[in-house]
């Protein structure tokens, strides 16, 4: 389930690995273009798709800051699953609490959307969003349970020993 999101992140990181050196020399340049005002960059980014935004976030720290913005990712989510529900205050605060639109998009909306796209059925948007949110909430809960799991190493180790 997380594979799509992770593969995207890895791609982005590969690009980052190549460009980070370039980024350092360019940061001066990008600041010259945008100043310290990332809002303009956000306005530009919100018209792009997720992959481009990921690539741009590798260019410089300013760009990364802009690309991480929830505003941009919320727009991206709306692009992929058009629905008025994204505008509701409740949903936005809920998603923000649970980890943000970017995570919602990468791990749940994007993989599920390819399913509804495959089915050529736009009315599935609401269902896709609902299921994504459900899975997202479980994911949030599991992350908070992580602390429970880290108490397990001794048992894990003994199981692995048994498996050898």
């Amino acid at each position: 389930m997380r594979r799509v999101g992770e593969s995207m992140e890895s791609k982005v990181q590969k690009v980052a690995g190549r460009e980070v050196t370039a980024g350092n020399s360019n940061s001066h340049a990008s600041r010259a273009v945008f100043g310290n005002n990332v809002d303009i960059l956000e306005e530009i980014l919100k018209h792009l798709d997720a992959k481009s935004v990921g690539i741009i976030s590798c260019v410089s720290k300013g760009c990364q800051q802009a690309a991480e913005s929830e505003y941009v990712w919320k727009i991206i989510c709306t692009h992929i699953c058009p629905s008025s529900v994204f505008e509701t205050e409740r949903l936005q605060s809920l998603v923000a609490t649970m980890g943000g639109f970017k995570r919602l998009y990468m791990n749940f909306l994007h993989p599920l959307h390819s399913y509804s796209h495959h089915k050529h059925c736009s009315s599935l948007n609401e269902d896709v969003i609902r299921l994504s949110l459900s899975l997202f909430s479980v994911d949030y809960y599991e992350r908070r349970l992580e602390s429970f799991r880290t108490r397990m190493p001794p048992i894990l180790r003994s199981i692995q020993a048994l498996l050898q």
């Binding site: 609490t97 269902d127 609902r130 299921l131 459900s134 899975l135 997202f136 479980v138 048992i155």
Partner: protein, 705 residues
């Protein structure tokens, strides 16, 4: 993989395909699970591509690849048979195999109208009724008949044995293909045993040879041997010549599969196993009248009493391939497991013990899903045989290890997620317009189900209700209060998304100890939902005739709460039969299917997730096979029985709705191997299964007025 399936389709005769449509499944429910084992065999064992390619060759062509297992050079004794108590020379097997090939050639070239029907129709035989088969063949030769008995189960069986899971199950209906799998296990005699010219003599010759082979065996202490009584029955059949009855409506339960992927060596072993099973069946006939061997025990008895039907052999134009591909050993493994279970059923513990050891070795060699399933079943059988039962803690699934296994299984397979999300959807719909809601969870575990419901309630149009959760859990061996921890985590989550939340936990070793007053229901103020995920089957008592069994008490208690909705999710399996062998067979097929689906997840081998999920399932297997009485808590019952129980307890079913269906279908796309899963709607209940076998069923109920 589809390619291979198509190739086999090419090989099948037109009539068989047509007849396949007509034939009605009549096998009883126990054989339902049987079709799954071949999934396990196929997927776990893999398919020998060379064999497949050879099989798809032109009709009448024979491809023979000699088995690498025959390393004795024909001088020694066949090892597998030796383990069963027979000492048979491999060279003898080879000779008979060659003669069978000759027969096939003759069969192919037969042009006479009188026997052309023999080359075009499928025949099905009961693997445990070798006497009847011989009898029917002899009568066939003497009284050639022209009635058409389509038994294209052979074709589906061939598909089953040779093609990938997806293709075969799509074409065969469950009940019929069940038989095919059964037959596939038990038979495998090559086609072409008829020869219009001198077939009858050859047949007699062949039969004598087979009997001769068996009579060479020694070691009288093992009941696997031919006993004089059975062989006399065999000879007796030779002399009988009743007219074959054509009107037998029930489908024959065996298939003589043309060996596109069978080695004739395998053929021989299966023959011998057939005979052995035949013996054991006749042996146990007086002892266990109600021991219905799923491989056709019922039919076997019918045969002994009634006349055998006319049955045809499969078209003899299949190439025969001898190869030691894993599929064969998978089939053999299943056969050994069944034979061992039979031995256990008949309390022949010495024999069973030896077989279990063999099975363990074979399972290690097998690998794949089938090997793993076989390992777990062998271990469970060993525990049963030697009386070494797991400790209490293991059974009650209380400890932190169990929780860990549960979490891994939750992540790896969609079954639990399906259960949770479907139940949540039903509860959400039932709670529409209520301002105060109360959910009672019969086993809270880690509370993985509830974040999604809390979130959905938070975002519902009218605003979130006040949500109250009562979690019930078993006593922890180390005395820690897991319920309270989970409650706190859920409270934290609810608070962060602005849902009014309250939690109460109850520790109860048995759900029947729970009383309504403990739950502090506020009737009229709050809407109550009761949620039971894989918990109700634990309450079923050993002796159902008891006046107030746990399950009835609990259902009455639930009824008295007057809930708005009761969500019940249970395994779709029949693992509570009174007879051990039936349970074993059912469980073997059920868990083979689940392991297949695990295999399809394509996780890195020996990864923590995969192994943990397997151990989780292995515990269930152990409980079903090795435990008895109060310790056997995994008493799975099929959906039909649950419907009856709940109906009798005063509930009526609620339809789950299309939203739940859509959600489940979408959920499956997130799982690798998701194409194999099937969500089906069954009279308002949803089932999730692997290919055509439903594995878990979710249903919703409300009180009937």
């Amino acid at each position: 993989m589809k390619r291979q399936h198509y190739q086999f389709h090419q090989q099948q005769q037109q009539q068989q395909q047509q007849q396949q449509q007509q034939q009605q499944p009549q096998q009883h429910q126990s054989s339902h699970g049987l079709q799954q084992s071949s999934h396990g065999l196929r997927v776990g064992a893999g398919v020998n591509p060379a064999a497949m390619a050879a099989a798809s060759g032109s009709k009448g062509k024979e491809t023979v690849m000699y088995s690498s297992k025959d390393s004795n050079g024909g001088m020694g004794v066949d090892k597998e048979l030796a383990s069963m108590g027979y000492s048979v020379k491999s060279s003898d097997l080879l000779q008979v195999a060659q003669r069978l090939e000759q027969l096939e050639m003759v069969m192919c070239s037969a042009q006479e109208d009188g026997i052309s029907h023999l080359s075009s129709e499928a025949v099905h035989y009961n693997p445990s009724d070798l006497a009847g088969w011989i009898e029917s063949m002899l009568t066939e030769l003497n009284v050639p008949n022209t009635a058409d008995h389509h038994l294209d189960q052979s074709s589906t069986a061939r598909e089953a044995s040779n093609s990938v899971p997806e293709s075969s199950t799509s074409t065969s209906r469950p009940d019929r293909s069940v038989q095919n799998r059964v037959d596939h296990f038990g038979t495998g005699v090559a086609p072409g045993l008829y020869d219009g010219l001198d077939g009858s003599e050859f047949l007699q010759d062949y039969m004598d040879q087979m009997v001769g082979l068996f009579s060479q065996s020694s070691d009288p202490s093992e009941a696997l041997l031919i006993n004089p009584g059975s062989s006399s029955l065999l000879e007796q059949d030779h002399h009988q010549q009743p007219l074959p009855s054509r009107d037998e409506p029930s489908p024959p339960s065996t298939v003589l599969i043309p060996s596109s992927s069978n080695s004739s060596l395998e053929v021989q072993s299966r023959e011998q196993k057939q005979l052995q099973q035949q013996q054991t069946h006749q042996h146990q006939q007086p002892q266990a009248q109600d021991d219905l061997d799923v491989t056709g025990g019922r039919r076997h008895k019918k045969r002994l009493r009634s006349e055998p039907e006319a049955e045809r052999l499969l078209p003899a134009d299949r190439p025969m391939v001898m190869g030691a591909d894993p599929q064969e050993s998978g089939v053999r493994l299943v056969h050994m497991l069944m034979a061992c279970a039979e031995a256990v059923q008949e309390n022949r513990h010495v024999v069973a013990g030896k077989m279990v050891k063999e099975i363990r070795i074979m399972a290690c060699n097998q690998g794949g899903a089938m090997g793993k399933v076989a390992t777990y079943f062998a271990e469970a059988l060993a525990r049963r045989i030697y009386g070494f039962l797991p400790q209490d803690a293991l059974l009650n699934h209380n400890d932190s290890l169990s929780e860990l296994l549960h979490i891994h299984f939750y992540e790896t397979c969609p079954y639990l997620k399906f259960a949770h999300f479907t139940a949540n959807q039903a509860i959400l719909e039932a709670f529409a317009d209520h301002k105060r809601v109360h959910v009672i969870d019969f086993n809270l575990k880690q509370g993985m189900q509830w974040p999604a419901l809390i979130q959905a309630l938070a975002l519902r149009p009218g605003g979130p209700p006040a949500f109250r959760l009562t979690g019930i859990g078993p006593r922890q061996p180390d005395g820690s209060d897991v319920l309270q921890e989970v409650g706190m985590k859920l409270a934290h989550l609810a608070e962060s998304i602005n849902v009014e939340f309250s939690f109460r936990g109850y520790v109860a070793s048995n759900l029947s100890n729970l009383k309504p007053w403990m739950l502090d229901i506020k009737p009229g103020v709050e809407a109550v939902a009761v949620n039971s995920i894989l918990q109700l089957h634990r309450l079923i008592d050993e002796d159902p005739s008891q006046p107030s069994s746990s399950i009835d008490q609990v259902l009455d208690m639930v009824r008295s709460l007057n809930p708005k909705i009761v969500t019940v999710v249970e395994q779709e399996a029949d693992h509570n039969r009174p007879i051990f062998l039936d349970r074993f067979t059912e469980a073997l097929h059920y868990y083979s299917t689940i392991f297949d689906s695990l295999e399809a997840c394509r996780l890195p081998p020996e990864s923590e997730q995969q192994v943990m999920s397997e151990i989780y399932l292995g515990r269930e297997i152990c409980n079903i096979v090795a435990c008895e009485g109060a310790e056997r808590v995994e008493r799975h019952e099929p959906l039909m029985q649950w419907r009856l129980r709940l109906y009798n307890a005063g509930f009526r079913a609620m339809h789950l709705g299309s939203n739940a269906f859509k959600q489940a279908s979408m959920l499956l796309t997130l799982f690798p191997g998701g194409e194999g899963y099937r969500v089906e709607e069954n009279n308002g209940c949803l089932t999730l299964g692997w290919h055509s076998r439903p594995l878990i069923a979710a249903s919703a109920w409300q009180c009937s007025s």
